[in-house]
Structure formats: structure tokens, C-alpha cells
């Protein structure tokens, strides 16, 4: 079993994406490839960008456990007031800075949900958001 955790700063666009690319390379070295690697990488990048763009900061961690790879994002706020809206394609509160860099399509969370075999989201205003995604190492969604 391996586990690794990365901290992600609010507004740190320069380093944004570093954690997910590191994870991707780490999984590759462990012999994980093909569509499961692709699904994990896309979901990791989306959730990491959300930490940078929307959260006050948080951590992204990865864990291999039996048949699943678990990707967990946890932040310290501000929380999502209306999760149902946030899950909808096209819903975004991204600011102009984020939009200017190519974000704010409102596709991130729908992308995560589509790529993960297990998707759980919990959020409390003023406390924070936790997203847990599980990817079946063999025979998941894409196989």
C-alpha cells in the first residue's frame, strides 16, 4: 500500500497541476496505465484546479488499497453552498482570472464524476469540501 499527500495553495496558478502530474508519474512507475491512469489523471487535475481556483487551500492525497485507487481532496473552506448546482454541467463561479486561463466551463465536477468509479462529495459552508473518488484498478468504467 502506498499513500502520498500534496498540499495545494489557494491561487497558486504557477504550481497548479503539479500534484496531479506527480501522481500520474508515480502511478505510471507502479505499472498503472491505459484508461484507468487517464481517468485518475483527469479527475486529479480537475480537483486540484478547483482547490487552487475555488478553495482557501487544501490537500490532495492518493492511496492504493486493494482493488481501488483512492483520490481524496480536502480543503479548509469556503464550502459549496449548493452542491446540486455545482454538480451540473455549465455551473461555475470561477472569476475572471480563472476564466482568462481557460477555466470556468463548469465541467470539472461532472468530469470527475464521469471518470471515477466511486464519487462522494461532502461540503459545509464556512468549513470546507471533501471529495473522495475511487478508481477500480482493473475492470472499472472504461474497460
Amino acid at each position: 500500500m502506498i499513500a502520498e499527500s500534496f498540499s495545494v495553495e489557494k491561487g497558486d496558478y504557477l504550481r497548479a497541476g503539479e500534484a496531479s502530474t506527480k501522481m500520474k508519474n508515480m502511478l505510471k512507475k507502479l505499472g498503472i496505465g491505459g484508461s484507468v491512469l487517464r481517468r485518475i489523471s483527469v479527475a486529479a487535475y480537475e480537483v486540484e484546479m478547483n482547490l487552487v481556483i475555488h478553495s482557501l487551500g487544501g490537500t490532495l492525497s492518493i492511496d492504493l488499497d486493494g482493488d481501488y485507487i483512492w483520490l481524496v481532496s480536502e480543503d479548509i473552506g469556503p464550502g459549496i453552498p449548493d452542491i446540486e448546482s455545482a454538480m451540473r454541467e455549465g455551473y461555475s463561479t470561477a472569476d475572471e482570472i480563472a476564466q482568462g486561463m481557460g477555466f470556468g466551463a463548469g465541467m470539472g465536477i461532472p468530469n470527475m464524476k464521469r471518470n471515477a468509479d466511486v464519487f462522494e462529495i461532502e461540503s459545509e459552508p464556512n468549513k470546507g469540501t471533501k471529495i473522495k473518488m475511487g478508481f477500480l484498478m482493473g475492470g472499472g468504467k472504461s474497460e
Partner: protein
């Protein structure tokens, strides 16, 4: 279609990856929204975009893309070109609008990436 074909169709300039122009691409996607790209593009797809920042490269890295085309003659910073070179990407710049680039490539036989994440091209559906 090979990247070399794309270079000649668009009269594009090669910014890096000169040695990989014989790579074959299966489909194309035009977008300035990274999450849209992440939703349905696969590694045999070329991405046409007007954005020239680091996030385009990150997105390319996440998806294992092989070729990026910047439209309207945009050229990214040297730092970005250098990073793209390290990633073994082919990067082109075409001095035409995104619409014209897309039209010319379509005319040349290239098709859009499927709007779902696990299919090859639009027309195979």
C-alpha cells in the same frame, strides 16, 4: 493525417518537435476551456487553442497529447516552448483564426474528437 500534413494545410510554423512531424493524428478539438478538453480528448487528438499559458501544457501532459496548435499566430513564451520540448510535444502556430484552421483541417479530412470520452471520432458513432 500526419502532423506534417497539418503543417502544410495550415501553412503553420513549427515551434518545437520538428523531428516528430510524421506522427499520425486521428481527430482534432478546438477549445479555450481546459475542462472541455479534459472531458473528451484523447492522445491521438490535436488541440487547437488560442490560449498559450502553462495550463494548456499541463492539460496536454494529463492527456498525453502529442500536438498543440496555437491559432491566430500566437506564440507562447520561450519558457513554455522549452517545457513543451521537454514533454516531447509538437507545437505549431498557425497565422489564421481558429475557425479557418478548423475548416481547412476538416476539408483535408480530419474530423472532430467525439463528444464522449471513450469514442474515437465524431463520425464513428
Amino acid at each position: 493525417m500526419t502532423i506534417e500534413d497539418i503543417v502544410s494545410i495550415l501553412d503553420a510554423r513549427v515551434l518545437c518537435g520538428e523531428d516528430k512531424l510524421s506522427l499520425v493524428v486521428m481527430s482534432a478539438c478546438c477549445s479555450d476551456l481546459m475542462s472541455d478538453v479534459l472531458a473528451f480528448v484523447n492522445e491521438k487528438t490535436v488541440l487547437l487553442t488560442g490560449l498559450t499559458n502553462m495550463h494548456v501544457l499541463r492539460t496536454a501532459e494529463i492527456l498525453d497529447l502529442k500536438c498543440l496548435i496555437f491559432t491566430r499566430g500566437k506564440v507562447p513564451s520561450d519558457e513554455i516552448i522549452e517545457r513543451a520540448r521537454q514533454m516531447n510535444l509538437v507545437v505549431l502556430t498557425a497565422n489564421k483564426t481558429m475557425f479557418t484552421c478548423a475548416g481547412l483541417l476538416y476539408d483535408g479530412g480530419l474530423r472532430g474528437a467525439a463528444m464522449t470520452w471513450n469514442e474515437e471520432t465524431e463520425e464513428e458513432k
